[in-house]
Subunit: 593 residues, 2 copies
């Protein structure tokens, strides 16, 4: 359909955002006017006003092949980890949260954010952190009375929803513009490690639940599933095969890998006899526990309702960071986006989904850190150009370097909507049976793929590898060479300290407090880092996570940086890499670059 | 020890080979004098005369660190596949050949060739092909009378030895100079595939012998062992870490991987309970079967003695190709060798070891195709230089390409000798017990590493990958671009036809005939290929396997090529790659380049 795809590429160019761009900006105001809570709803109002004119094009732009590829890819990338986390939650919350709850929650979030969201690119679903949250609360509650867990979770969600609404009304999302890669890389690394740990835990539980034979086969499937997806995605970013063919392999790597390894696990004979664990399912459309969907939240002692207040606040704090960073990375500068963001409005909506999830006893959905940029990536039209660089070796010996350019993004809300429909479809009886054929090993493999993707492409790892590289093979215009090695070590050392503090706390009952730790990284970066590093060093190593102009409009404009630096001064390292190799494709899991 | 290492680098330069170089050459002779069998022993005489002056330096040159690294690396690379093949033979020859026989045979070969051999770089031991040979003969013999197997094998070896001596005396090794990469790449590919198949067979037999739990764990160990060695060797040829550190990691990758995974298999608990298969051992220094070392070969019906003649001839044909190609690749042009070869003399010695192995009931040793070049590689002093190429992108953006140069080879016979001593040591009681701790999974892993190494770096695969690469990213001075794609397809198609014919025949009882197939590739190349390809095409795609001047001296000088081409005209593709990246290090298994 050449005509419709032409529409989708050109339409965004005809739209202009300048009209509304300067409307929402606190930095120009003086005195009491600077106080954000005094203008409740100002940010939300502007978000909606800025975004509404694009609503029609959000549907009409969708008629391209990329939308279809995106729906299928996101269905797998969203569903598989959600199910995997649910398996974990199922075991660790006294079987309260099951597959049906997970699917319902994911579908609810997809419907709400695809239809009403200001940033339909941000995929919302069940994260590993909410799973961690839920079972940590369970661990705390069972010390008193495990029967009140549903009601207590419900009140936690209600309070969290109220805090969400307050934050959205009081325009507090503006502070997200101060988030830099220093903290978002640490967060990405933390999430990656948690994913890997969960993958191993899945495998261990298979040993204890079903014995060694099943355990070892599950390990093998997990390792080979990981290798399959990794190899297919690697092939997709190579220069082998025609671009169209390798694109298809990479787009459908999860589909290919999942179908193959699910089939493998069901080959009759030795494999079938190993009797490995499959996804546990229950009756379609019913809660896992014998209960109504609506939680009887009114049946809770008043003291517990108040105990739930700090838990609700911590949930909000987690979502404040997690959801907004998802939106930021889904709309990072490397994607040539034309349509504006809307953080306040989306955070308000997130309050609503939190509330609904709470009273229905679902795990609360929020923005998925590794998956959100994958969605935008799946909608981006990449072109691999060849960069011919003449060398001193003469004619014929030119370096022919592939350089990847993101030419356009199919910005629309249809892919998100249909992915949600597919999730609802999965809730029906027949498809639930299909789900039941999936071995646990495949889920562990998904954890490894997504987790490793988040680690491998992480800025911390990139800097560490830079330190390990032999000096003489590093190109001389590499910006990192202008910084002392000692300073790079200190920088990634601080990041790793943050990461490992979070990982350590996640293994204890204090896990509930880790959002505080993560949020503390933002003031640490703003207040302490400029004392230890020169402006120049930070400009090379760090970058604003909110660096896309259309995004900053919703956050009240670019942040005020120390030393009068501009947004453009930061991220020298990223821009150097983009200049040489073009933008990196977001294969499953990579938070950045 | 800088002084002794200085000796070893400089000594070869002081020696000259010109004096003896022109002595052995049939091409200058006319009429009946050209008939090689009429001058029995002429080649052997010249081999010894040419090589003897270097004998003292073969010992004095050895006092460097590289010799130690070489001994350890070769001990593992030789021992592990030999044991692995023996496990296979043990099961498939009615438990006639066991670990003690394999160790004895390897040690015997190492002693003979390190002390008396003209080419001490060629590692001689137990190959997969002799294992295939032995159990195919067993499959044939048991159809009549399995009790005569030892005597029949003995007579096969005696006849093979006689044919060896005749070939050596009649100077027939000269024809090896006509071997080109067309057939040696096919052979390398075939060997690689056989290795991989054996690895899988090891795993399958673990399932049938010990059940699923042990089977799956063994699979997992094999896969992870492969990944460990592969990653360590990859790191060794990267530009990470200091050259000395990464060199150590790559040199000892087998040691590190083997110790780690053997230890892993013995961790108490679930792993230990899986009760996986270990190397079966018997009493030290005794044959596996209750027999004397000397086979009572006189107790065989005369008709069987004559039936053994064609089997002996086929064995000789196999060794003629396999052993000599091992020597050729161990002395390929990429290694800056100074000391001359001696094919006739070594083939005579091989006849002697075949004879001894026969009457003692050992598997017959011969040159190891994948391991022989690894030995030379382990003795080569590599230097990674940086090649700075200015580009049109200006100052600072120079391409800094690593280029590997082989500066010298520590040519000596001490490493081979001590490797043999280590093998004898392994035959003693205490070390046999250590061997018994090795899980079968590690051996399957060794098969995968060595087999995959032989496949990955193979010219067939390289050409196939070239065909798959996107045209615009291929540098314009790439010689393969001058050839039509159709012709490249035809060339690798013919190679693959040879490979798969051999693989297919190996799975049947006709496996005994596969040396004929392999040797047929040489006349096919000489007679048919020039009709289907132009001279130019062959010059790019093919190369003489015997392309080292010091080697060709022993084979009666350079071959007479059609169209008056010189040796230097061939191998354009190889030289292009060497010009750009330097020589490739021979990590376990790669036959070429």
């Amino acid at each position: 359909m050449p005509s419709s795809s032409a529409v989708s590429y050109d339409a965004p160019h005809q739209l202009t955002r300048e009209k509304t761009h300067d409307d929402y900006d606190y930095d120009k105001l003086k005195g009491w006017r600077k106080l954000r809570p005094l203008r409740p709803g100002w940010g939300m109002y502007h978000d909606v006003r800025r975004r509404l004119p694009y609503y029609k094009s959000d549907i009409t732009d969708a008629f391209t092949y990329r939308t279809i590829a995106s729906i299928i890819r996101m269905y797998f990338v969203n569903l598989l980890p959600a199910l995997a986390y649910t398996l974990d939650m199922y075991r660790r919350t006294g079987e309260f949260f099951g597959v049906n709850e997970a699917l319902f929650s994911s579908a609810l979030a997809a419907m709400v954010f695809s239809i009403l969201g200001a940033q339909p690119l941000t995929i919302v679903g069940i994260t590993g952190l909410i799973s961690l949250f839920n079972y940590t609360i369970y661990d705390i509650i069972i010390q008193y009375d495990s029967s009140i867990y549903p009601q207590f979770m419900c009140w936690t969600a209600i309070w969290a929803a109220i805090f969400h609404w307050l934050v959205a009304l009081w325009n507090m999302c503006d502070y997200m513009r101060y988030v830099t890669d220093f903290s978002s890389e640490s967060f990405g690394m933390y999430v990656g490690i948690i994913y890997m740990v969960k993958g191993v835990e899945e495998l261990v539980s298979e040993f204890s639940a079903r014995g060694s034979t099943s355990g070892y086969l599950t390990c093998m499937i997990a390792i080979l599933y990981f290798a399959t997806i990794y190899a297919l995605e690697k092939l997709g970013s190579s220069t082998f095969l025609k671009p169209a063919y390798r694109g298809v392999l990479a787009d459908y790597s999860y589909v290919i890998g999942t179908i193959f390894w699910v089939g493998f696990a069901h080959i009759p004979g030795t494999l079938k006899r190993a009797n490995i664990g499959m996804v546990p399912i229950t009756k379609a459309f019913h809660p896992t526990q014998p209960r109504n969907w609506l939680i009887n939240f009114w049946d809770l002692d008043v003291k517990w309702i108040f105990v739930a207040v700090p838990f609700g606040f911590l949930t909000m704090l987690l979502f404040y960071y997690d959801h907004n960073v998802s939106s930021l990375t889904a709309q990072a500068r490397q994607f040539p986006l034309k349509k504006p963001g809307g953080f306040h409005w989306d955070f308000f909506l997130l309050g609503c989904t939190t509330f609904v999830a709470g009273i229905l006893g679902l795990p609360m959905p929020n923005g998925l850190v590794p998956q959100a940029p994958v969605h935008t990536d799946s909608l981006t039209i990449y072109e691999t150009d060849v960069d011919v660089i003449t060398t001193s070796e003469g004619e014929g010996a030119e370096v022919r370097r592939p350089i990847v350019r993101a030419t356009a993004v199919v910005e629309q809300r249809v892919s998100h909507f249909f992915m949600g429909l597919a999730l609802i479809g999965t809730m029906t009886g027949p498809l639930l049976v299909v789900l039941h054929t999936m071995p646990v090993g495949v889920f562990a493999g998904v954890f490894f793929v997504v987790g490793w993707g988040s680690i491998e492409s992480n800025g911390i790892v990139e800097k560490a590898l830079f330190l390990l590289r032999e000096h003489r093979f590093i190109q001389r215009d590499e910006p990192m060479l202008t910084i002392k090695k000692r300073k790079i070590c200190l920088y990634i050392g601080l990041q790793l300290f943050g990461v490992f503090s979070c990982v350590a706390i996640s293994q204890t009952i204090a896990a509930i407090g880790f959002p505080v730790l993560i949020c503390l990284l933002i003031p640490l970066r703003v207040v302490l880092l400029p004392k230890w590093f020169t402006q120049k060093e930070l400009e090379v190593m760090d970058d604003l996570t909110a660096n896309n102009k259309v995004v900053l409009a919703s956050l009240g404009g670019a942040p005020i940086l120390p030393g009068g630096a501009e947004v453009e001064d930061y991220g020298l390292e990223r821009r150097y890499s983009e200049h040489r190799k073009g933008v990196s494709r977001q294969r499953a899991g990579s938070v950045h670059r």
